[in-house]
Symmetry: C2
Subunit: 127 residues, 2 copies
């Protein structure tokens, strides 16, 4: 099976999720080999949560699942790029379309991203 070089990276590789229609970079998270396999098997992006130490189906709480459209590996086989159909239109747990919703503007971070949902409504608590 084609896979990233998990041995080289110590078990986890960074994964960039990109909107397959707009080209927006939505988020970066990590996969271990099991998350990679589950992603291929199901067509839904699974990550490995480093804080919770477990496999995580993106959207399992919010419903904002990422459907796999295309998968790319980089030249060193240690980074993955996945073009996804982002259900619900938002990847970020803060309710924004992209996790990269703040732009550096001089010495400030300016919110430039589009807010799609209220995290308190979706998750039932402050995110």
């Amino acid at each position: 099976m084609i896979k990233p070089d998990f041995e080289k990276t110590g078990g986890l590789v960074p994964v960039i999720a990109q909107d397959y229609k707009t080209g927006d970079v939505l988020m970066l998270a990590y996969m271990n080999e099991e998350a990679w396999k589950k992603t291929l098997e199901t067509g839904k992006v699974h990550y490995y949560s480093r804080s919770r130490n477990k496999i995580w189906l993106k959207g399992e709480s919010s419903g904002h699942v990422q459907l796999v459209k295309e998968i790319f590996l980089d030249c060193d086989l240690d980074t993955v790029l996945i073009k996804v159909d982002q259900l619900g239109g938002a990847a970020c747990h803060k309710g924004y379309r992209s996790c990269f919703y703040r732009r550096l503007d001089g010495n400030e971070l300016k919110i430039v991203g589009e807010k799609i949902f209220d995290p308190e409504v979706v998750y039932g608590k402050k995110a």
Copy 2:
């Protein structure tokens, strides 16, 4: 100074370089705080090479410098997205426009990226 949370990440953060015109994801590499500062000071993307253990001006050998257009930080302040003007049109040391030049196609990796230069000519040896 606004900066990624280098303490949380143990000193290095992943950085996604995206073509500011086409939206193509070009590469992923890492920055430490010094690389972050040099990038802001010079307007040219600097990374930290984990294999060479040193700061690296992207394009220092090839001339394929990345000029900073916009910088974004993610919701957790542990990943950077930089929109760049990729001089020379190629980010990958293999000569491709993007490091993500291979797409998973069944159980194969299919080259779908555009080759811009011959690494042997640019670097004077096999890359």
